[in-house]
């Protein structure tokens, strides 16, 4: 039989002015299981708490109900008080008789009755409470950052500077990401590489950072604080310790005409290459698909010329097993290419290019040394049309969202063009100019006012080539949808930003949810923008949605703090309000039948498959198991489970059922 203590608070006069607290305490004392019932002026005060503590000891209480304010206010206070007195804190409950009663009703019998009903319900609930112990999860203090763009670099550096080990994994041969490809950055027009490369070097030299480039995530198991990750380190085909990065091999490689990924196909690279001169690490990789040796078995020029004999043709991929406590996903984004737009030539007009290609054209280290020349014949274009929202905000193209960065970089592109080709004409077709951000609107105005970029509000319906010109047909909606036709030398499409290639597979490996466009999904759109629904996995940068450099960097620092906070103690302590699948004696083992319909319901991927085996090791039953490290205690699986095999500690079926029955026990006045 329970031994419950009831403590009714006056809250000064906040409660007692409308509720007859003495009557509530008195009536409660007559309820079955109640052995002690008092009222007091301020329960939350020190003397009030002492009342509770002493009663626990004196009456050997098995449960405590404090009728006072909202549990959202003082539940922790009274739980702590109970704990000090030796009562499990989860054996206390609060009846909200202030916010939900005395403050919202006038003085009267009904108000007192309501207060009593609520107290009675909580007494009933608390008699069904069980003692719970906080869940402790050990934390491996090593972070994994996936993606070596600016967001990944920032997150890795921030975590490393907090004194934690970081593994940074990048899929391409060098870190740097898209930012390394950019010419200048808005709104300051400072050189992108100038600000980025020092950070890249810092990563390479940081004692707490282990860098794996040309590597990918193979698999991820485990949960927050305890991930087990396999990293596939692809063969660079060289001994990285011996290679000095002198670059001799790259100059001697006979294959020279391979379109460069870094140059967006506008320049060439050899088969053994570093993507760009400032690459980190500055060690080449061999591209098997284009290497003469791998194709014909002959050549090995690189091996011959290498002064340190570092080339290893037989090298194979290696799989590294690492234990990780937290993961930051910073895998970035990609853009649609011009071949996505049949109305703009479907990629067949060489002079219709995308934004990244323009960045390379404008970059001093690019294929044209920063001269704006059109790809078809190398001529300097006298008239360029920039089309914003190419694909973005276009449901017909399946991309309803705004890519967010294009308005700004289109303004930048037009401006850079005008700075380089003074007699050139720049036309921008736009839907709306979205220049929200510090100095952003001013930047766009500068393009229009100072650099005389022609902005036309309207869409371009089609582009076709005629006599060496690109005929751009559009409409000017500010002039009554008048048709506009421009004979351009070059067209730059600000194509839609999209989720990076492979993000879906990665999300599935990570058990992270993703949206319809394959961008990773944050845990809460407002309050948990860097968390995912999987505990211990965080997001940084454009893998969540396209965003610009300052946003990516802030987000990366945010994610880094989340990781650092997680690493701040050896054990992760979690509230024991988690779901649990029941276990009963064999041969059933659980009433769970393993239908796993709860699995898709769990927002946290906390429901795992547990296999019960007989002594010979044969699986005799599969049933659901809740990973307490991941479960956040929403209880959706509990309500869904048909066989009532899952229960939510702290809000068990028994507790809720008895609370409902008890609150309705008496006729309301």
């Amino acid at each position: 039989m329970s031994r419950i203590g009831v403590f009714v608070c006056h809250c000064g006069e906040n409660i007692s002015a409308t509720v007859d607290v003495a009557k509530v305490a008195d009536d409660s004392s007559r309820l079955p299981g109640v052995v002690h019932s008092v009222d007091y002026k301020y329960m939350c005060s020190d003397p009030g708490q002492t009342l509770v503590k002493e009663a626990i000891k004196e009456h050997n209480l098995t449960g405590v109900v404090v009728a006072a304010c909202s549990p959202r206010m003082h539940e922790p206070t009274f739980r702590k008080a109970c704990a000090t007195a030796g009562l499990n804190p989860y054996l206390s409950e609060m009846a909200n008789v202030r916010e939900h009663c005395s403050w919202v009703h006038d003085k009267g019998e009904q108000t007192t009755q309501k207060a009593f009903d609520v107290v009675r319900a909580m007494i009933s609930k608390v008699s069904n409470n069980g003692a719970l112990e906080p869940i402790k999860v050990p934390v491996t203090k090593r972070a994994l950052v996936v993606g070596g763009g600016v967001a990944g670099i920032q997150a890795a550096l921030d975590i490393a500077n907090c004194g934690h080990q970081v593994i940074l994994v990048e899929r391409s041969p060098s870190i740097g990401g898209h930012m390394a490809q950019l010419s200048e950055t808005f709104p300051t027009l400072d050189c992108s590489q100038c600000i980025l490369t020092p950070r890249m070097v810092e990563v390479a030299q940081h004692p707490n950072i282990t860098l794996y480039t040309y590597s990918e995530i193979e698999s991820v198991d485990g949960f927050i604080g305890n991930f087990k990750v396999k990293i596939r380190k692809r063969a660079r085909n060289l001994d990285e310790d011996l290679c000095t990065g002198c670059g001799l091999c790259t100059t001697k490689c006979p294959q020279k005409k391979i379109p460069s990924e870094f140059e967006q196909g506008l320049g060439f690279r050899p088969a053994i290459y570093t993507p760009f001169p400032q690459a980190v690490p500055n060690k080449p990789v061999i591209d098997h698909d284009n290497c003469t040796y791998y194709k014909s078995g002959k050549c090995k020029v690189c091996e011959i010329v290498c002064p340190t004999k570092a080339i290893r043709f037989e090298q194979e991929d290696t799989i590294l097993d690492v234990e990780i406590g937290a993961i930051v996903l910073a895998t970035g984004f990609d853009i649609k290419r011009s071949d996505f737009f049949p109305e703009y030539g479907k990629g067949k007009y060489k002079d219709v290019i995308d934004g990244l290609q323009f960045e390379r054209l404008a970059s001093a280290s690019g294929p044209t040394q920063g001269m704006i020349r059109r790809p078809s014949d190398g001529q300097i274009p006298k008239k360029i049309v920039f089309i914003a929202c190419a694909g973005s905000r276009d449901p017909a193209k399946g991309i309803e969202y705004c890519s967010k960065i294009c308005c700004m970089y289109t303004a930048k592109h037009a401006m850079l063009y005008k700075h380089k080709v003074h007699d050139g004409e720049a036309h921008v077709f736009y839907m709306d100019i979205r220049a929200g951000g510090k100095m952003y609107e001013e930047f766009v105005r500068r393009a229009i006012v100072e650099d005389h970029v022609n902005y036309t509000r309207g869409r371009v319906s089609t582009i076709y080539e005629l006599d060496g010109k690109l005929i751009v047909k559009g409409a000017d909606t500010l002039l009554g949808a008048q048709a506009v036709e421009i004979e351009a030398d070059m067209v730059v499409l600000a194509t839609a930003g999209i989720a990076n290639d492979g993000s879906e597979e990665l999300a599935q490996k990570m058990h992270v949810s993703y949206d319809e466009h394959k961008f990773f999904a944050e845990a809460h759109p407002k309050l948990k923008p860097v968390e995912t629904n999987t505990g211990g996995i965080f997001l940084a940068g454009a893998c969540q949605t396209t965003r610009d450099i300052p946003d990516s960097v802030s987000m990366a620092s945010g994610a880094a703090v989340k990781v650092a906070a997680l690493f701040s103690s050896d054990l992760l302590t979690r509230e024991p309000i988690v779901a649990r699948v029941n276990r009963i004696p064999g041969p059933s083992h659980s009433t769970c039948v393993g239908c796993f319909m709860c699995q898709p319901v769990c927002p946290y991927q906390a429901i795992e498959r547990e296999e019960i085996k007989d002594r010979a090791g044969n699986v005799i039953k599969s049933l659901a198991r809740i990973n307490e490290g991941l479960c956040q205690g929403c209880g959706t699986c509990v309500a869904l489970c048909r066989s009532k095999s899952i229960d939510l500690l702290g809000y068990t079926d028994n507790q809720m059922h008895s609370e409902v029955l008890s609150v309705l026990e008496e006729a309301f006045v």
């Binding site: 039948v593 796993f596 319909m597 066989s643 059922h657």
Partner: protein, 267 residues
Amino acid sequence: MDNLRKKAKELLESKTVDLVIGYENGTNGKARAVFIKDPEKTGKLIYDDRCKQNLAVYLNKHEVKHYGKIAIVAPLMVMRSVLVLVSECQLKPENIVVLGIGEDGSLLDFPSLEVVEKYIAKIPLGNPEPDQVIIDKLNAMSMEQRREFWQNELERCFKCYACRAACPMCYCLRCTVECNQPQWISAPAHPLGNLEWHQLRTMHLTGRCVSCGDCGRACPLNIPIHLLTMQQAEEAFHMFGVRAGTSQKADSALSTYKPDDKENFIL
């Protein structure tokens, strides 16, 4: 029918399957389930209009599962039930061979469950016409009339649980009615207990019912309880666009959602 027997025999002879579940001639002109292990006995198999039982119910049965790989004579409702059971991890696709029966009674060749899915995708699904007619009639009644109708019907229930036993989707080891901590459902067969039981059954089958009607046929007291789950099957389709037993994926109506599910009653 000859094709069916031939195919069943082949499957047993080649040891592709260990057991064939089908229909045979029962007593008093009824058709009933038969379990054949011996290829020589496949001559017992029949298929005609009397074969109404949803044989998928046996796929959950401990003794039947024990045999190993099973071929099942499957008119549409059985096919759909098989898909539901697969999607709910109660049946491994590699352990079942579907001997499909077309709408014209012909044997359909299903090399895999994917082909079953494709077949079902082409067929208009819904409740059997006569049942839907009654459902429509009930829906046309006033709320009060419907309440009276169901009260009179459900009052008679004596909780033999034949409805539960006949349903392939009611495979729980412990049904909620057998849970007494807390006592979710009043166990006695009084009007409240009966109402609670049938509400529970209906809700638990929402999005999972394949409209086979076996619960109603099983009821010894002729209570038309199958209308409840059938109505929910239609509702689930109208509200969520989901029909049970169309794919092997776990995507039933109540374990998934769309952010833009449309309702008109939440304030």
